[in-house]
């Protein structure tokens, strides 16, 4: 009897195992997904941030897109040059040089500089505040100050300073474009850190109104255009820099500005 029990146990378990194993073997044959080994190799060198800066939904999708020839090897801005070279060597192609870019916030109208038109008690989110009356500040082009960009940053490269404005840590910034998309007022742009001169204002109101609402607004005086008329243009009472590959910015332009809306080599951490 005792021996019988051993035999029964062994055979019933063995039979069950065999049955399910054969079922799985059969299923594997039917349902197997062939994966290009290159996709896995590329996935390993990617930063795995799944940020979507490359335009693909996450790193695995980007790896697949590269292998299928949809995306280019250097499109992962987060990984930068190093990752681009690694992917290029996996794919057996030559990588192009990647231009590093960082996020720049084009508003300096913090709590101290701007006028208040109301007190906002709603959800602390820029995208929502922008829809209900446009937040607290009287300038309708300004930073709302509810930190949607900071929340969107996955790399801890942004935070709000004491003046209620977002600050970018340019070394930590990976130019993933998340904050650019998060800002309902389109105040954030990606630019090469080599460019020294920027207009830190998006106010298109006439000078009189702009001056009233914010101390550091562009009042459309056109003084900055004179030293560099080729690259700086006036559009709707606002000085706009036409960025080109060779553009670096002239210091004179910033010196002329009466409100400091245009600044040269602004310290990124302030």
């Amino acid at each position: 009897m005792e021996q019988n029990l051993y035999l029964l146990g062994l055979s019933s378990m063995g039979g069950l195992g065999l049955f399910f194993a054969s079922l799985l073997v059969f299923a594997d044959k039917k349902l197997r997904v062939e994966v290009d080994p290159k996709i896995l190799l590329i996935e390993e060198v990617l930063p795995a941030a799944n940020c979507g800066a490359c335009g693909q939904p996450g790193c695995p999708a980007f790896a697949e897109a590269v292998v299928n020839g949809i995306a280019d090897v250097h499109e992962c801005t987060v990984g930068g040059e190093e990752v681009a070279h690694q992917i290029a060597s996996i794919m057996g192609v030559e990588a192009k040089a990647v231009q590093k870019k960082v996020a720049k916030v084009f508003c300096r109208g913090g709590n101290k500089e701007t006028d208040r038109k109301a007190i906002y008690y709603g959800v602390t989110s820029c995208s929502l505040a922008a829809k209900v009356g446009g937040g607290e500040k009287s300038c309708k082009y300004s930073c709302l100050g509810y930190a949607d960009c900071v929340d969107s940053c996955k790399f801890n490269a942004m935070w709000m300073n004491a003046n209620g404005l977002p600050v970018v840590d340019e070394d930590a910034c990976t130019s993933c474009n998340k904050c650019v998309e998060a800002c309902p007022r389109n105040l954030i742009e990606l630019h090469s850190p080599d460019i020294k001169l920027h207009v830190y204002c998006k106010n298109r109101d006439p000078g009189k109104i702009a001056k009233k609402t914010c101390k550091v607004a562009c009042i459309g005086c056109t003084l900055c255009v004179k030293p560099d008329p080729e690259n700086i243009k006036m559009v709707d009472n606002l000085a706009v820099i036409e960025y080109s590959d060779a553009y670096l910015g002239l210091e004179e332009c910033a010196k002329k500005c009466p409100t400091n809306a245009i600044a040269y080599q602004l310290d990124p951490i302030h």
Partner: protein
């Protein structure tokens, strides 16, 4: 009528997640989006029903027939593990996006205590074949209901102004507690 009672009992009154506290890890882990939580609920339901059927067959035609009831756990685990493997293959083939969204929680269905609990309950309560199937479906529906309700609340919480120390896991566990409290309202409606 009895079958109906078993179904209601398994899905609502004695909900596996909210009254027995079985299968809590996917309940908390995959409940941040309604879509993926519903899919996980479906996958779990599928495994539950198959396990219920297979465990009844194994129990009656192998374990009782050969008088080897001590192999109960091992054989049920074999069934569950192979079914999960099958579901994983199927999901990977049909929906890579869902496969990525479920991540580690898909293979973790293997060790989901709700499923082994279901198989053991069915044996313990001496259910017939039909009753076992209904019990499996009911448990699966109950699990899906719990996880989808949780995901719905958590999606709303994304926009809510939650005190900083409670963000993330803190508020999730508090909400789970409230849900369990709500389901206590059904307690005693049907026994076992």
């Amino acid at each position: 009528m009895e079958i109906f009672i078993i179904f209601i009992s398994a899905s609502i009154v004695n909900n596996f997640v909210l009254t027995y506290f079985l299968g809590i890890c996917p309940f908390l882990g995959v409940s941040n989006k309604i879509d993926s939580s519903f899919s996980l609920g479906l996958a779990t339901t599928f495994v539950m029903v198959i396990t219920a059927v297979a465990s009844w067959l194994i129990n009656h035609y192998i374990l009782i027939l050969f008088n080897v009831p001590f192999l109960e756990y091992v054989s049920f685990i074999i069934v569950i593990a192979s079914m999960v493997q099958l579901v994983e293959m199927f999901v990977k083939k049909t929906s890579p996006v869902l496969y990525r969204a479920l991540g580690i929680f898909l293979p973790l269905i293997t060790t989901n205590c709700a499923i082994l609990g279901l198989a053991l309950f069915a044996v313990l309560r001496d259910y017939s074949f039909i009753q076992t199937i209904v019990f499996g479906i009911g448990a699966g529906v109950g699990f899906t209901l719990a996880i989808v309700v949780m995901a719905g609340i958590r999606e709303e919480l994304e926009m809510a102004d939650i005190p900083y120390p409670l963000k993330g896991a803190g508020i999730t566990l508090i909400v789970a507690g409230f849900l369990a409290l709500a389901f206590m309202g059904f307690a005693g409606l049907i026994s076992a």
